[in-house]
């Protein structure tokens, strides 16, 4: 195992009966990075996590987490990681501090150590004032922070977060991600699944799963460059019709469509930028021209990736 890697998965597969939930997946996660794992529901995200944390044995392939092989040393894996499941799974009938005490004890924390760590975590997650509150009485956003706090009590080198912000309001999501970034800055590796694509922008690298296969893996910027190669430009101004026709005739312009009072352009980013477009439009009589570059989003990437996956599958089905 490369010492700079916290997680390595090699040709990992998991089969349930005839259903291949995870199909030949290989990747690594570097120490201290926030690694996002994206995909639709049922794409195999949770199954991958469950294999990595030692809850499920792989059907084939191997993976090691924090230097422990998941198949032969699941106990070593468990001691090294923290896990926050998709479903809130602390004890709702116990007070906040009793949940921390229990999970701290489960990881072998004891006495003053446990007390100190629990206080730190309550401070970190902003839950100090809720320490005596019954967990079930807290709002969803606060519970999620508690669950994260409980997962990092024992200072694991890696935390696995399975859809940690599902069903949480936007403000609570933002404060939750602030916590995740703090953890990562402190050197903790974060492996997080989500289907909120705006959240995925916070990740250093992203893996995209479609139907059990890992079809794309890179930094958000690189993914956008690869999967959404065109630059989208939003143009406003008057007398743009002639200019649009002129642009369409030039190489590197893939589309120029009227959009409201303006234009919507898709261009090759290597050949075109805002200034070049404005020059052409003004030369054709355009007035008051302003050009805005619309950054491609991960949503565009996701749609492109899923579309490609569907095409590949359709091709496979047609092939004899």
């Amino acid at each position: 195992m490369n010492p700079a890697h916290s997680i390595e998965a090699e040709r990992l597969s998991r089969r349930f009966g005839s259903f291949l939930a995870v199909d030949d997946v290989s990747f690594h996660v570097e120490k201290g990075e926030i690694f996002g794992y994206l995909g639709a529901n049922g794409a195999g995200k949770s199954t991958t996590i469950r294999m990595l944390i030692g809850l499920l044995t792989p059907s084939s392939g191997r993976a090691s987490v924090a230097g422990h092989d998941v198949a032969s040393d699941p106990e070593g894996v468990k001691a090294a990681i923290g896990y926050m499941s998709q479903k809130f799974s602390l004890y709702l009938d116990l007070p906040v501090e009793e949940n921390l005490r229990f999970f701290g004890g489960a990881y072998g924390l004891w006495g003053k150590d446990l007390q100190r760590r629990a206080d730190e975590v309550l401070e970190l997650t902003g839950l100090a004032e809720h320490r005596k509150a019954i967990t079930g009485a807290l709002p969803g956003g606060i519970r999620q922070r508690l669950a994260l706090g409980s997962a990092v009590l024992h200072r694991p080198s890696i935390v696995f977060l399975d859809e940690p912000t599902a069903g949480v309001d936007p403000e609570a999501r933002r404060s939750f991600w602030r916590l995740i970034r703090d953890l990562s800055r402190g050197g903790t590796t974060v492996f997080v699944t989500t289907h909120y694509l705006d959240e995925a922008e916070y990740c250093r690298r992203i893996g995209l799963m479609v139907d059990g296969r890992l079809v794309a893996l890179d930094t958000p910027a690189e993914l956008k460059r690869t999967w959404v190669p065109d630059r989208v430009l939003l143009v406003r101004g008057r007398n743009l019709t002639a200019g649009a026709a002129a642009l369409r005739a030039r190489p590197g312009v893939r589309a120029a469509e009227p959009f409201g009072a303006g234009l919507h352009l898709r261009v090759d980013p290597a050949a075109w930028d805002g200034a070049a477009v404005r020059t052409v439009l003004e030369a054709s009589g355009g007035e008051g021209v302003s050009v805005e570059v619309a950054e491609p989003t991960l949503e565009d990437v996701f749609l492109a990736v899923v579309g490609r996956g569907a095409e590949a599958q359709a091709a496979q089905e047609v092939a004899p």
Binding site: F88, Y91, D93, G105, Y107, G108
Partner: protein, 383 residues
């Protein structure tokens, strides 16, 4: 700064789970009620209500003879308290109607000319019509009637013999001497049985449902990704129930002694050991049920499907000896049977290790087997 003395990791984990279980149990009023107050209440209710003694059986008499002789017999047969006068009737049919209505369980018919037949030394008959719905009660009532008239015929035969100048016929008398429960009270017999039933209901159901709830709510998975070994988790989860089980037995024995006069003749160490081994079985069954249940409802049904037949096939209410042979074999696989035998023998007869070791060994074997099987399944399911 001096370092704290730090216990072994497994002990820290054990203590954390026990603490959590105790807090959860204390917070759950329904479970507390089920574990502590309900056994107390049920002992009292069952102790008073379960009564195998039969008396005051409602009896309708149809005296068709209406002689001083018949009236005197009727008065005397009703005098010992087993039968209780519930009205008169003119005919056997009218009496049987009272049976139909449920107004009587026995009809005693004295036919016409009964008095004159008896006086003349001719054979005379008394008819008894019984409601057989409750076999035990009709047996006791029929017994009371035939005992009275049997003794009466003997007495008459003796008188006639003496009048004829002959020796009266020899009488054979049965002299019963009752050991252990001389008053033939039901409560001292039934209370140890109640202990066996309550423990199985309380511990099996609470364990099965508690674990099913943790599985349902996902907390079991959260615990399964911690490094707590399954063995430590199970031991810690069972610990509070062992204490509660002991508390319940103590409560039952105390109530049994003070309220129902259960004698404490045996060595209570035998009772304690039996309780521990019995709990191993009942908790093991609860755990096993939880491993085959997806949710709390299934666990509850599963617990019920085990506890009810186990109680019926234990010899607590009906003696094992009077069951069909194949069912008797089944009772050997029933921990309730052994615990019930130990509890009754120990408390009522003073049975000790020397008398009860076969039952103790059987309980230990059953408990180890069932708990081992359940733990293996549990480990497999939680990974």
């Amino acid at each position: 700064m001096n370092a704290e003395r730090r216990p072994a990791r497994a002990w820290i984990q054990y203590a954390a789970v026990v603490r959590k279980e105790v807090l959860q149990t204390l917070r759950d009023r329904r479970v507390m009620f089920m574990l502590i107050f309900a056994p107390f209440l049920q002992t009292l209710v069952l102790g008073f209500a379960v009564d195998f003694e039969v008396d005051r059986v409602p009896t309708v008499v149809a005296d068709q003879d209406r002689s001083p002789e018949s009236r005197s017999h009727l008065r005397r047969v009703l005098a010992d308290g087993t039968l209780h006068f519930a009205g008169g009737a003119d005919s056997a049919e009218q009496g049987a109607a009272a049976l139909d209505r449920g107004a009587a369980a026995v009809v005693l018919v004295i036919p016409p000319r009964f008095g004159s037949d008896v006086a003349a030394g001719r054979p005379a008959e008394v008819q008894v019509i019984l409601d057989g719905t409750d076999p035990n009660r009709s047996n006791v009532a029929a017994g009371a009637v035939s005992r009275y008239f049997g003794e009466e015929s003997l007495r008459r035969a003796g008188e006639r013999a003496r009048a004829a100048g002959m020796a009266p016929p020899a009488r054979i008398e049965v002299v019963p001497r009752l050991y252990y429960n001389p008053g033939l009270k039901s409560a001292p017999y039934i209370v140890p049985g109640i202990a066996a039933m309550l423990l199985v209901v309380v511990t099996t159901l609470v364990t099965a449902m508690g674990l099913a709830r943790e599985r349902e709510q996902g907390t079991l998975e959260q615990v399964a990704v911690t490094p707590v070994p399954a063995s430590v988790l199970l031991a810690a989860k069972m610990t509070p129930f062992v204490f509660i089980g002991f508390f319940d037995v103590l409560l039952l024995v105390t109530v049994g002694t003070w309220v129902f006069g259960v004698p404490l003749r045996g060595n209570l160490a035998v009772m304690a050991l039996a309780t521990l081994l019995y709990l191993l079985s009942t908790l093991g069954v609860g755990l096993l049920i939880s491993t085959i249940s997806a949710n709390q409802q299934q666990a509850f049904l599963g617990g019920f499907l085990f506890t009810l037949p186990a109680m019926l096939l234990s010899g607590i209410m009906t003696p094992v000896d009077s069951m069909p042979r194949w069912m008797q074999w089944l009772t050997y696989a029933n921990p309730l049977r052994y615990f019930q035998e130990i509890a009754r023998s120990n408390l009522l007869k003073g049975g000790g290790f020397a008398d009860l070791w076969p039952q103790l060994v059987a309980l230990a074997l059953f408990g180890t087997a069932i708990f081992g099987l359940a733990a293996a399944r549990f480990r497999k399911r939680t990974g």
